[in-house]
């Protein structure tokens, strides 16, 4: 697999409260071909603070991709999605909703809030790896994003 143009590591923010899924995502990204910096936050409030580079996140760079779980404590994924997509500074960051919900209303609501993709976490580990790899490939190599 090719690296990104700049050879710079890709910044990915994972907003996920389930440590199991965090581990699985990490493992999947490790097995991938793209150099990345994975930042993990465990709730929506943290996610927003990270994106807005508040306090301890002041030094963190803006992520190139956000992997967002819908069901999180404090501020759930839907609110996070809405906050990002109504924020002129943040709205161009691609958001991939990754969740275990197959509920139609969740899917519809997510796209209504301008999620860039909605993916259901597969039940088995291999499926999960496939998904994460697909995300890498599509969003980090195929898709052209506007310059910063």
């Amino acid at each position: 697999m090719t690296e990104t143009n700049q050879g710079e590591p890709v910044e990915i923010l994972l907003a996920e409260d389930n440590p199991g899924d965090v581990t699985l995502t990490k493992k999947a990204l490790e097995q991938g071909n793209i150099i990345n910096n994975l930042h993990v936050v465990n709730d929506g409030v943290e996610a927003m603070r990270f994106l807005r580079q508040e306090d301890e996140y002041e030094e963190k760079s803006r992520p190139d991709l956000v992997l967002l779980d819908l069901n999180m404590p404090k501020m759930d994924g839907r609110e996070v999605l809405e906050s990002i997509k109504t924020d002129d500074d943040l709205k161009r960051i691609p958001i991939v909703v990754m969740t275990s919900s197959e509920a139609e209303e969740d899917i519809v609501q997510s796209y209504d809030r301008h999620a860039n993709a909605y993916l259901t976490k597969p039940i088995d580990y291999d499926g999960f790896l496939d998904i994460v790899r697909s995300i890498e490939e599509f969003w980090l190599t195929v898709v052209k994003m506007p310059p910063e």
């Binding site: 493992k27 969740t99 919900s101 197959e102 976490k121 580990y125 291999d126």
Partner: protein, 812 residues
């Protein structure tokens, strides 16, 4: 009787044969006029003996004749000269009575002496009759002029008195069943004094004559009357006056009256009868006119007569006082001015004056009048006048309006929002419909031990101030009325010993079914009538219907809400299932995989086996969750019903099951299937689940048979929702999926449709398939059931609404 020459009685001049003649005969000296001889008949006539008579001068027995001697002399002279001379003469008899006589003088002069013989006939009665007959037309005219029965009676007695020689004449008229004396001659009055008998019809000879209608001649009154003192009356003649009465004539001598008397008197009575008839007719006419007049004046109506200008020329009727007028008071006024502010009256009067008959109910001054104006035309066909009748229909109108208000109230009640709103509206209506009154609604809904007033009219709340409580306990009349369920009037309420509403004396108690009781009360006794009761009974009936409806609707709403709640819970559950249950499941399966990936080489066969179990369990759990999700979405995510070709759907389903069918070496046969009104994909799922179920359970090389039949009702027992057969005419299709497997014990027939009740030990069965079928069929309002005997296979039936023949799609 002295002669002029003083000659004494010279003896008999008349031959003996003349003495025997019944004709009174007298011999005069033709020269002196002296009476020379008379026969016995003459003696009888004059009442004097022959000797006396011959001594009298003519003027002595004819005092009423002026210059009788001279005239008699002249007559004798003429007779002597010409041989014969006849004339009428009036004489006064010895007893002083006068008589008219006809004298025929004949000259009998011979050589010896100048003689004139006078043949005298008493024509008193004859002349009297003649005179009477001549006077009869005058009597008739008098009778016809007479205006009353009494006048007629008196004319008749006068006429009778003038014509017949009698001592008595009287007219009796029928009055109240008795023949009462209406008029009698002065003579009769003198001897009868005040003892005038009034015989009944048929009583005595007078009564008999009247009853028989035939004249009666009584020759001897004393015999007929049992020797009663009848004064100067000795004989009598009774002639009936038709149906009016009797004319009685009394004669002084026994056997005085003969047929000629009857014949004459009959003439008189005929005239009298005719006169009485006429008076009767006039009386009746007058009576009728009077009656009509009375009627017109007293009828509770108003009568008008208008001239062609609309001026009132007559106004009658007691109804006039309804508008404050006396009969006749409005005469001379123009109806157009009188009703200047009632255009409707002006309009119909105008129409009537134009020749149209108009009838209309018009409101004037708060009252309602039914007016009918009828034009009266003259010979030329022009309106001559207009007759108007109006009567007060205010009361009818009021009742009419009450009913109108009631029917409005039916609408009002039907628009009510709920039970308390309906009750409030009914209380309001009751207050208005019954005019006045204290209205309350009582119910035992909250406390079955007593009736409590829950809604009261404003007037009631004023009265209720200070009352301790507004309740009625079992046993009191209000409670009893509620239990009896009949609307009753209690017009002496106070006497019924109810203290809570003591001020009310009359009430109507109108039970509203099981709901409660509507009461209207007034402070006066006997304030309500049957009409009030009827109105309130109607109203309470309407209220009852409304309350029933609200109760039903509320129950319906509640069960609907209940259903919504349970659907919501199911939705909630479905979400939990799809997200929250998947999460840990995914952890299990993912980490088992991860364990296998990273540490698989280090594990022994047994550990591998354990991991396989864990993976399998997670997979089956996943299937169950999926099934549950599908199950929960049957209602919420179903498609609209359209006309679906069941056969096409079945064929598609069968293709998707090809692998399964081939693997099981199964044979699936399908008969012709009709179109149904259904959710296409759900119907497919039904077929799929049932065929899968059959193939799974039917053992080796199973045979599955699918068929359909048209039926009238959806339920397995041929009814709709356990009730009667379908009334809508909706048609249904019953599908059958039959297999030749081991069958299902009867105890399981209902259970197999419950969710997660697995009927096979096969690991790929989740126990959701048949529950899913049940839920899909429910959504289509159909029924699903199984018929099976052990070892005889199983037949699953389900019903779906048939597609309407030309139905291409509808949203049922």
């Amino acid at each position: 009787m002295a002669t002029e020459n003083g000659d004494a009685w010279s003896g008999r001049e008349l031959p003996a044969i003349v003495d025997a003649s019944p004709v009174p005969t007298m011999v005069h000296d033709a020269e002196t006029g002296a009476i020379l001889d008379v026969n016995p008949a003459c003696e009888d006539l004059f009442g004097y003996d022959a000797e006396v008579l011959c001594e009298l001068d003519v003027s002595e027995f004819s005092p009423s004749v002026p210059e009788a001697a001279a005239r008699a002399g002249d007559a004798i002279e003429r007779a002597a000269a010409t041989g014969a001379y006849d004339f009428d003469w009036e004489v006064t008899k010895a007893d002083g009575t006068r008589a008219t006589v006809h004298v025929e003088l004949r000259d009998h002069t011979d050589a010896n002496a100048p003689r004139v013989v006078a043949y005298v006939t008493d024509v008193t009665e004859h002349r009297k009759r003649e005179r009477a007959l001549r006077e009869l037309p005058g009597v008739a005219a008098d009778l016809m002029d007479a205006e009353t029965r009494e006048e007629i009676a008196s004319v008749t007695t006068e006429a009778a008195d003038a014509t017949i020689d009698f001592s008595f004449a009287g007219v009796r008229l029928l009055t109240d069943g008795r023949l009462e004396m209406a008029s009698m001659t002065a003579d009769a009055e003198a001897f009868l004094a005040d003892q005038v008998p009034s015989p009944e019809v048929g009583e005595g000879f007078v009564g008999e004559a009247f009853a028989s209608g035939e004249p009666q001649i009584i020759d001897d009154v004393s015999t007929a009357l049992d020797d009663r003192d009848t004064g100067p009356v000795n004989s009598a003649l009774c002639i009936p006056l038709g149906s009016h009465g009797v004319l009685t004539v009394g004669g002084s001598t026994v056997g005085q009256f003969g047929d000629s008397d009857v014949a004459f008197v009959k003439l008189l009575t005929r005239l009298t009868e005719a006169a009485l008839d006429q008076v009767d007719r006039e009386d009746r006419l007058q009576e009728r006119t009077d009656r009509l007049e009375t009627l017109l004046n007293n009828a509770p109506l108003m009568f008008y007569e208008l001239d062609t200008e609309g001026t009132i020329v007559e106004s009658r009727g007691r109804g006039l006082n309804r508008i404050g007028l006396d009969p006749g008071e409005a005469v001379g006024n123009s109806i157009f001015e009188m009703y200047a502010d009632v255009p409707a009256v002006q309009r119909i009067a105008e129409m009537a004056l134009d020749g149209e008959r108009v009838s209309e109910v018009v409101s004037a001054g708060g009252q309602w009048f039914d007016n009918t104006f009828q034009p009266v035309f003259d010979d030329a066909g022009d309106v001559e006048r207009v007759v108007g009748v109006a009567f007060d229909v205010t009361e009818q109108k009021r009742v009419e309006q009450q009913f109108a208000r009631l029917s409005e109230s039916a609408i009002t009640l039907s628009e009510s929002d709920g039970e308390s709103d309906a009750i409030e509206r009914a209380v309001d209506v009751a207050e208005h419909v019954l005019g006045e009154g204290v209205v309350a609604y009582w119910t035992a809904a909250d406390d079955p031990e007593r009736l409590t007033a829950t809604t009261i009219s404003d007037s009631a709340s004023v009265m209720a101030e200070g009352s301790e409580s507004l309740t009625h306990e079992p046993g009191d009349p209000v409670w009893n009325a509620f239990e009896a369920g009949e609307t009753v009037i209690v017009n002496d309420f106070d006497a019924e010993d109810i203290d809570s509403t003591a001020a009310l004396r009359s009430v109507i108690l109108a039970p509203v079914g099981e709901h409660g009781l509507l009461t209207v009360g007034r402070t006066d006794l006997d304030a309500f009538d049957e009409e009030n009761r009827y109105l309130l009974a109607l109203l309470s009936g309407l209220l009852r219907t409304s309350l029933d409806r609200h109760q039903y609707e509320r129950a319906l709403q509640e069960s609907k809400r209940e259903l919504e709640r349970s659907n919501e819970s199911l939705q909630q559950f479905a979400y939990i299932a799809s997200h929250d249950l998947q999460e840990p499941l995914r952890m299990v399966s993912s980490y088992v995989s991860l364990l296998d990936d990273e540490y698989g080489d280090d594990l022994d066969g047994e550990a591998e086996q354990y991991m396989e179990y864990a993976t399998d369990g997670a997979a089956r759990m996943q299937q169950m969750i999926d099934g549950l999700l599908q199950y929960s979405r049957v209602h919420t995510q179903g498609e609209e019903f359209t006309a679906v070709d069941a056969e096409a759907v079945f064929e598609e389903t069968l293709r998707s099951l090809e692998l399964l069918v081939d693997d099981a070496d199964a044979r699936v046969d399908c008969g012709p299937l009709p179109s149904v009104s259904a959710d296409r994909s759900q119907l497919g799922q039904l077929f799929q689940n049932l065929v899968k179920n059959a193939v799974h359970h039917a053992g080796e090389a199973p045979s599955v048979d699918v068929s359909a039949e048209r039926v009238d009702a959806p339920d397995r027992d041929g009814t709709v929702d356990g009730g009667g057969p379908a009334e809508t005419g909706e048609k249904w299709v019953r599908f059958t999926v039959a297999d030749d497997g081991p069958g299902i014990p009867e105890s399981q027939h209902d259970r197999i449709f419950e969710i997660f009740k697995r009927n096979s030990s096969r690991s790929d069965s989740t126990g959701i398939g048949l529950a899913m079928c049940q839920r899909i069929v429910d959504r289509h309002r159909g029924d699903i059931w199984v018929e099976s005997e052990p070892d005889e296979g199983a037949a699953f039936h389900f019903t779906m609404p048939a597609a309407e023949s030309d139905d291409t799609g509808s949203d049922r």
